[in-house]
């Protein structure tokens, strides 16, 4: 029953854009049909996955599949259900949002294509999550990757979009090929293409599988330094696509990593340590790069890297827990990671959607062009600030709950005698704190620069509040953020179930409720809300209309402050960027003062992606140049070509023995 619901949901979602593809470019029917199909299909999917998640039962079936090694083996367990719920929540919201954001009448060229592949992407994501067979998984995996490529390059006439699409598709291919090798090795180890814990295998084989999984899945998830495709792709895709990609798509990498790690009951300690290092690097550098950005969506993209880092830290602790046979660590780590997957999906989608609303209203992603939008777009501003508070992991919203679980896992690992474990905690916890502090700085920067203060350019003047179709999805996401933040115990059974699936050995004894103060978090959360409300009433009383005067901002006596004197996002970030300049390598162009009467001058700063722009692209260009050097071998001279044949003949005859 549940699996039928989910499969129906996948089919409906996957074909949602199909009717519209056959309608005329001008017709608005297609987009409505797509949205309806998306919502109906997702409702089915949520019903099915929700039932599985709550009932803590897994459901599976398999059909023959006429490809070599293939079997339509499907299994929906607690982990899959968690990912399914997320997919089926965010995708339809994006689709509804798209009704206004990417109207067919405003984008006759690419609207149909966009919706078609939006549905395909969603269906592929759901498919790979429920796949219980390597080939089926890879099918879903790459369909997802290709659909995402089409979506990223929706506006392919833009050179930047084209470049981002290329980097994305190459990165994703490298990852996919790693997965090819990994699944082939798993096949060798387990003797079957069905997902199963392989029996005893040589350590070197297991280690290779692990490394390939980390690279292959890490590339998709965007772990630093494998994140290179992510900022460009997320920045250049339409915003509801960015929301889906950042909220859901990159999590497929996490899903894969979680799934593969679950196969190994006694992983070596260094696996966990490697993951931890990757997580810390992704988290800290991800947020550091984010601080340097002045493109709103690029900034959000780097925060995805950061949050993937946090999730990876959680997984790392769980893996460490498994190798040290510490069920508490396992449960806290994996539930923290999985909950953060959910949470990041919610608040990052929320942030991308509100950023999209800003982009839609002003036509620019440049933070330093904006300002004071809170007055024109109050609901969008509210949505953004909720997302910002949540992503910084601040109470009383959802980000705090999952970070708390990861912290608890790290702290608990501190208590262990094994040096590996407590060193992990000793580095992990402060790193997480640093990430939190930097994220806070970054979101204070972007929220304030975009929504607060006064307008920095005339783009803001024409801005308008987003329509109800755009606000409603944001409101739902914000409500989810608040719900998880305030009533985390409600989802504890789902998390427990997932943890048991991931590590069956923890199935007796350590429910999450006994490890983490979930109900007390509700108490403190509601207390905080109440205190804030009381304080709000108090300040409203104390500053009643009769006692308030309006004036210009006090600028130390300067009488005519203008919006151009505001602190910009770049200057706000400058000191932090400088602190991390060893990794960020910011580019600055400052004017030189040549004469006593300086002319008009300008200053600009830019933080390119160090890994992409300073390492990978130059390397690729170098390799390309090297390849071009070989062109001498084929200069059109037929004599030389015949000589090649002769040489091959003689050479092979020579070695024929």
């Amino acid at each position: 029953m549940n699996e039928a619901l989910i499969l129906v949901g996948i089919v409906l979602v996957g074909t949602s854009g199909l009717p519209g593809a056959f309608l005329s470019r001008q017709s608005a029917v297609g987009e409505r049909v797509a949205a309806v199909l998306m919502v109906v299909g997702s409702t089915c999917g949520i019903a099915g996955a929700g039932a599985v998640a709550l009932a803590a039962r897994l459901t599976d079936f398999s059909l023959p599949w006429a490809v070599p090694g293939g079997e339509l083996a499907v299994r929906i367990d607690g982990i899959a259900a968690m990912f399914l719920l997320q997919i089926f929540l965010i995708a339809p919201l994006g689709s509804i949002y798209g009704l206004r954001y990417w109207k067919q009448s405003e984008h006759p060229d690419n609207g149909r294509k966009l919706r078609l592949f939006f549905g395909v992407l969603t269906a592929a994501l759901a498919l790979l999550v429920i796949a219980h067979n390597s080939l089926l998984f890879l099918l879903g995996w790459e369909t997802m990757a290709l659909a995402a490529f089409v979506l990223i390059t929706t506006e392919d006439t833009d050179e930047e979009v084209h470049a981002a699409g290329f980097v994305y598709i190459v990165a994703t291919r490298v990852g996919t090929l790693c997965l090819f090798a990994m699944f082939a090795l798993l096949h060798v180890a387990a003797g079957s293409w069905t997902f199963a814990a392989p029996s005893a295998m040589a350590p070197s084989l297991a280690n290779t599988i692990f490394v390939l999984a980390v690279v292959g899945f890490g590339l998709k998830a965007g772990m630093m330094p494998m994140h290179v495709w992510l900022p460009g792709a997320h920045a250049n895709a339409p915003s509801h696509v960015s929301a889906l990609m950042s909220g859901v798509l990159i999590k497929s990498g996490i899903y894969g990593l979680v799934r593969v790690c679950s196969f190994f009951e006694h992983p070596p300690l260094w696996w966990g340590v490697t993951l931890l290092v990757l997580g810390i690097v992704s988290g800290v550098l991800g947020v550091a790069f984010a601080i340097g950005q002045h493109d709103m969506k690029r900034l959000l993209a780097y925060h995805s890297v950061e949050n993937i880092g946090i999730i990876t830290i959680g997984i790392a602790i769980a893996v460490i827990g498994r190798s040290l046979e510490q069920p508490e660590l396992v449960v806290l780590g994996i539930t923290g990671a999985l909950l953060h997957v959910w949470n990041h999906g919610l608040f990052k989608a929320l942030l991308f959607l509100s950023a999209g609303a800003v982009l839609h209203a002003t036509g620019t992603r440049e933070i330093d062009q904006l300002g004071g939008l809170a007055k024109k777009m109050p609901w969008t501003a509210l949505a953004f600030v909720i997302g910002a508070v949540a992503i910084c992991g601040l109470p009383p919203l959802n980000g705090f709950v999952s970070e708390l679980l990861v912290y608890l896992a790290l702290f608990r690992s501190m208590l262990l005698a094994s040096p590996g474990a407590w060193i992990a905690g000793a580095f992990g916890a402060p790193a997480l704190a640093l990430i939190g502090g930097l994220a806070l700085a970054c979101f204070a920067k972007v929220f304030s620069t975009v929504f607060l203060g006064s307008a920095r350019s005339d783009r803001v003047d024409h801005a308008h509040e987003a329509g109800a179709l755009m606000i409603a999805p944001m409101a739902i996401l914000a409500a989810c953020c608040a719900f998880i933040g305030l009533v985390p115990s409600a989802i504890a059974p789902i998390l427990d179930h997932a943890a048991r699936i991931w590590a069956p050995e923890t199935s007796h004894g350590v429910p999450l409720g006994s490890l983490a103060p979930l109900s007390l978090l509700s108490v403190t959360g509601f207390a905080l809300v109440t205190l804030l409300a009381l304080g709000g009433v108090l300040i409203a009383r104390l500053t009643g209309p009769s006692r308030v005067r309006r004036s210009v901002t006090w600028d130390c006596g300067y009488a005519a402050p203008s919006s151009h004197m505001q602190y910009t996002a770049s200057s706000f970030a400058d000191s932090l960027v400088r602190l991390f300049s060893w990794a960020l390598r910011p580019e600055q162009r400052s004017p030189s003062l040549a004469s006593p009467f300086p002319r008009t001058a300008s200053f600009s700063s830019h933080v390119p992606d160090t890994f992409l722009d300073r390492a990978i692209l130059p390397t690729l260009r170098g390799i390309g140049r090297g390849f071009v050097w070989f062109r001498w071998a084929q200069r059109g001279n037929v004599h030389v070509y015949l000589l090649y044949i002769l040489a091959t003949l003689l050479l092979t005859l020579l070695v024929r023995r």
Binding site: G371, A374, V385, A388, C392, G393, L394, P395, E403, L404, Y407, L408, F411, L415, G425, A426, A429, P430, L432, A433, L434, G436, G437, L438, L440, A441, A444, K445, F447, S448, L452, G453, S454, P517, V523, L528, L531, L532, G535, G536, I539, T543, R547, V548, R549, R550, S551, V552, T553, D555, P561, S563, M565, Q566, Y567, S571, F572, S575, L576, L579
Partner: protein
């Protein structure tokens, strides 16, 4: 859950009443060291009452975020106080991981303070906001490292237990590492509360300040709330340090309360002495000091692991 006991009532009363006094003690200490008589101990209370009766000027640029930030500051500090044991007396709320909530509550307040500063559209306040965000993101790891030492030492994940009755025994066993943590946490306290050598709360030279310049545009009751919230933050952070430094448990609850209040006043005196003895650091040296605090705690962890 000892939420509604006589201790809780006293806890709330102390948290509400005491914070401004600390500011008064610090000011008085500095005045005495400088050879002046100085303002009375209760001057901060007078100031607060004066501000509450005043009218308010709001900049036309600002919006609801600007108005909300003082509320957030007080609410979070007040809630955080419930997680901290005051001297011997246990915290009303105590659970595994409460130290994380403790730290992140201040994060929430900081987020709104910084946003409120930027909401004014003033370059000065933006500057302060940038500095605040920068330095506190470095103070955060130092705080966590310090707390980690306590976690490791007490094998507990809640502030109540790690600062509980076992603490005095631990001093005998792991005194050196606790001293290091104490120093580290003291540095964090100074940084988080924008005291010298990080910031000078007394000057009004906008270009050199951090916290003060951020609240430049607040006035009247709202400004009063900000001052009060800041004092409360100093109080709760100070409470941890005082408990750590004076882990005495007597049988008599009133003596315990006395020890705690005395400790808090002593802490204020120490802060006053530091402020008198030191000059404000150049801004670009502030990160070094914070990293030093991290290193102290880190070294202390190594000592524990030995």
């Amino acid at each position: 859950m000892p939420l509604f006991t006589i201790d809780t009532v006293i806890h709330v009363l102390v948290v509400v009443m005491l914070p401004p006094l600390l500011l008064g003690v610090i000011t008085k200490t500095k005045a005495l060291v400088a050879g002046r008589v100085g303002a009375p101990f209760f001057q901060p209370y007078y100031d607060l009452f004066k501000l509450l009766r005043k009218g308010t000027v709001y900049s036309t640029t600002t919006g609801w975020v600007f108005r909300a930030s003082p509320v957030v500051g007080i609410a979070t500090a007040f809630l955080a106080s419930f997680l901290v044991p005051l001297g011997h007396h246990a915290a009303p709320l105590s659970f595994a991981g409460d130290l994380i909530l403790f730290a992140y509550l201040f994060g929430l307040a900081r987020f709104f303070t910084v946003c409120a500063a930027l909401d004014t559209g003033s370059a000065f306040e933006g500057m302060g906001a940038a500095r605040e965000a920068t330095f506190s993101s470095l103070a955060e790891p130092a705080l966590f490292l310090g707390l980690l030492v306590l976690v490791k030492r007490s094998a507990s994940l809640s502030l109540g237990t790690m600062l509980g009755s076992g603490l005095s025994a631990e001093w005998l066993g792991a005194g050196a590492s606790l001293v290091l943590v104490l120093v580290s946490l003291f540095i964090v306290l100074l940084a988080e509360n924008c005291r010298i050598p990080f910031d000078d709360p007394n000057t009004h030279l906008e270009l050199t300040m951090i916290h003060e310049v951020m609240v430049l545009d607040h006035s009247g009751p709202a400004f009063g709330m900000i001052l009060y919230g800041a004092a409360m933050k100093l109080f709760v952070l100070g409470a941890i340090i005082v408990r750590l430094a004076l882990p005495f448990d007597t049988a008599n609850p009133w003596i315990d309360w006395g020890v705690f209040v005395g400790g808090m006043i002593a802490l204020s005196v120490v802060i006053g002495m530091v402020e008198s003895a030191m000059a404000r650091l150049r801004l670009n040296q502030v990160p070094s000091l914070l990293v030093a605090a991290c290193l102290l705690s880190g070294f202390s962890i190594i000592l524990l692991a030995r």
